[in-house]
Amino acid sequence: MAHAPQTTPVADHEYTTTGLSHRKMLMWVFLGSDCLFFGALIATYMVYRGQSLVGPYPNDIIDIPLTTISTFVLLMSSFAMVQALAATTANDQRGIKIWLLATALLGSVFIGFQIYEFNAFKNEGLTLGGNLFGATFFTLTGFHGAHVTLGIIWLLSLYFLSWKGRLGPATALDVELAGLYWHFVDIVWIVIFTLLYLIGGFDLGPSIIPGT
């Protein structure tokens, strides 16, 4: 953050061995850590795929067209995020505000879809405790949704800062870090969408192979 212009303190005008900023490196290592977090959740889903003893099974309730729309919305939010960062480096104050808000809104629409989906699934009998599909589905997509929600809060804080004129080329890193996080969460969703919906969404019953 660009404070304390009165001195050239060690902490603010940082000397770094690699020339990369500390915060950017921290974010990359954190995302590496988060990969293992989602990796373990996805592994749990894959291990228990087709192991539910009772329904509802994926094929009974997964609505691929609906989630395709919400996936499209989330991917578009990544586009808006790229635009927000471009506007920040170009010091386009109006663009910063528009694109940050657009990213947060698109993310919120995705969360709206997820809330609708969770509700619909619950009404059709899919619960955390009902079967293993419910447990793995809600845990994995729930933690992904929590990541998106945190990202939205982060983006809205940046939006708030943009109204105070605190975002610009000098603070582009603030936006870039949020962008790194946001793109990562999107990429995780691509994996989840592929595995839970496009592949696993057709699972009929206790066995993985449809019809057996």
Partner: protein
């Protein structure tokens, strides 16, 4: 937002208890980690004492079976997560910035946050004693023992939530140290000039960052099973208890290296310093550490040879486990070659370092013997495994850590620990450790299972158990002599900046170091930089007699103390603790953590220098 940061004004004082609560100085945080972990070590030591007294004679009924389960569960959990890991973290904190020639870590406030989360997480788990619902399923808490109907109280919720909170702390600290080591090295300190301890810290931190998310998922699933009605690990509903074992050991085996690599780094600093010659085969030690760090991910199922994974899996994990002994052996031979033809000084730190090598070889050899899966079928769940783990974790990790304590104590406090008491401590601990744990090899081979609270006289395990219990009291005496010598050291004369004629940069500044560490960032020209500097000065006829000259601290702008880390940490711990009591508390914890983060983000890392 400015109002928010004004409500809780930035602390300006640097004395008294508040200066410790708000500190962001890596040296002070290191001291906090060390003393806290030492207190937990006394606690875990008392738990071990209860275990040893209970087992001292056959058919003993000092404590009930249930209480016994609590004792061994908490002894192991505390020793691993609240003693050895934070003691290593204490050295990371104190030594790493000094050893790489930096003013502080990359994120000083994040560093304080890690400590406070650690403290609150440890306290959270120990609340279980106050409400007498103590975790009792062993340190790896196998399902379905952790599930209804086998677990009847909230003990395992304390365990799982406490570990989740502690995990947050470890990951935050590890992220910080990875960035610090890669990005804050003094000019000239290339990767292959870094002290071995710095290298091992880097590898350990990478392991932490990658391993903890896996156990986090396992623990979350356990908490969901216990509180939210899921059936992840309940066979009756299709769940698979083996999934818990896999998640636990995918974390648990890298964790073993998280516990041993830092002490290996400490020993690699101490052996050259007291052999008066550089470490033999530096690159081999570094690359062995890297190979151990990578292969540590490919051996986890050797903890599960007897669960029936099949001959293929057992063979593969036998081979990988035997392979990982190779880089470990490489290190041991390099350490021995470092001693070869050196001018060895048998100081206390050196004795502990040599003790480390000797005992770690014993533990390593028993480890290889249960790397072989047919042989492991005989040893699984017997006292042979208990002997092995104590040779590597006590004889290995703790001896390495004690070596580090004796080595860096003068730098940390400016006082010397008495060599007389130090050597007494070493010999008592060395003898006590072997008397306690060596008989356990025989007990295990004679079929004594671990985790039984008593045994019948006819089994003939009484004598060796009594011997082991005698050993416990010798170890106990060694800890008393250690505490006595620490107490005594406050009266000793101030020590010079470089009492050991050591090679590391940390010895070039005064003892204890000034808040800013180095007045000017050191220039590094090679490994063992301070030896290079001293030799050059000697050759020029102007030997170095004192530490780097102090400068006016106000000319160096350092990160300022802050309340936000402890507030954020309290929020994080409350999120976990709330699940035990009421979800409203978790929600409040989330709000407090959020408030902490907002206050944190709005506060510049260093206050503007307007105060006098």
């Amino acid at each position: 937002m400015a109002t928010l940061t004004d409500v809780i004004a930035r602390p300006a004082s640097y004395s008294g208890i508040w200066s410790w609560i708000t500190t962001v100085d890596h040296k002070r945080i290191g001291v906090l980690y060390g003393t806290t972990a030492f207190l937990f070590m006394l606690l875990a030591g008392i738990e071990a004492g209860v275990i040893r007294v209970q087992l001292a004679s056959p058919d003993n009924d000092l404590i009930s079976a249930g209480r016994y389960n609590q004792m061994f569960t908490m002894h192991a959990t505390v020793m691993i997560f609240m003693v050895i890991m934070p003691l290593s973290a204490s050295f990371f904190n104190f030594v790493i910035p000094l050893a790489i020639g930096a003013r502080d870590v990359a994120f000083p406030r994040l560093n304080a946050l890690s400590y406070w989360i650690f403290l609150f997480g440890a306290v959270l788990m120990h609340v279980s004693f106050i409400v007498d619902q103590v975790p009792d399923a062993g340190w790896f808490s196998y399902a379905p023992l952790t599930e209804e109907p086998f677990s009847v109280n909230k003990g395992l919720d304390f365990w799982a939530l406490g570990l989740l909170v502690l995990g947050t702390s470890s990951v935050a600290a590890a992220l910080n140290f990875i960035v610090t080591i890669i990005n804050l090295r003094a000019p000239g300190m290339t990767l292959m000039r870094m002290p071995v301890f710095v290298w091992m810290t880097l590898i350990t931190s990478i392991l932490l960052v990658l391993a903890f998310p896996v156990i986090t998922v396992g623990l979350i699933e356990l908490v969901l099973d216990r509180n939210f009605g899921t059936h992840f690990f309940i066979p009756a509903a299709g769940g698979d208890p083996l999934l818990w074992q896999h998640l636990f050991w995918v974390f648990g085996h890298p964790e073993v290296y998280i516990l041993i690599l830092p002490p290996m780094g400490i020993v690699s600093e101490i052996l050259p310093a007291f052999s008066k010659k550089p470490l033999f085969g530096y690159p081999f030690i570094i690359f062995s550490g890297i190979v151990i760090g990578m292969m540590g991910w490919a051996v986890w199922s050797h903890h599960m040879f007897t669960v029936g994974l099949g001959p293929v899996a057992n063979s593969v994990f036998t081979i990988t486990t035997m392979l990982i002994a190779v880089p470990t052996g490489v290190k041991i031979f390099n350490w021995m070659a470092t001693l070869w033809k050196g001018s060895i000084e048998f100081t206390t730190p050196m004795l502990f370092a040599l003790g480390f090598i000797a005992l770690f070889i014993v533990g390593g050899l028993s480890g290889v013997s249960h790397a072989v899966s047919p042989s492991d079928f005989q040893q699984q769940d017997t006292y042979y495994v208990v002997a092995h783990i104590h040779y590597v974790l006590f004889g290995g990790s703790l001896f390495g850590i004690f070596a580090g304590i004796y080595y860096w104590y003068p730098k940390i406090t400016g006082k010397m620990l008495s060599e007389y008491w130090g050597k007494t401590t070493f010999w008592l601990m060395f003898i006590g450790m072997n008397v306690t744990f060596f008989p356990m090899h025989f007990l295990g081979m004679n079929g004594m299972p671990r985790r039984i609270y008593t045994y019948a006289e006819e089994f003939g395990w009484g004598d060796l158990n009594r011997l082991a219990s005698v050993g416990y009291f010798i170890i106990f005496a060694s800890i008393l002599t250690f505490m006595w010598s620490v107490w005594q050291s406050r009266k000793s004369r101030p020590v010079s900046h470089d009492p050991w004629d050591a090679p590391g940069l940390e010895w070039s500044i005064s003892s204890p170091p000034p808040a800013y560490n180095f007045a000017e960032l050191p220039q590094v020209e090679g490994r063992d930089q301070y030896w290079i500097t001293k030799e050059r000065a000697e050759a020029a006829g102007t030997p170095i007699r004192g530490p780097e000259a102090p400068v006016d601290p106000s000319t160096i702008h350092m990160p300022s103390p802050s309340y936000w880390p402890i507030i954020t940490a309290a929020g994080v711990a409350l999120i976990g603790g709330g699940i035990l009591v009421h979800f409203g508390l978790s929600f409040a914890g989330g709000l407090i953590a959020m408030l902490g983060v907002v206050g944190w983000a709005n506060e510049p890392a260093s206050a503007p220098q307007e105060h006098h």
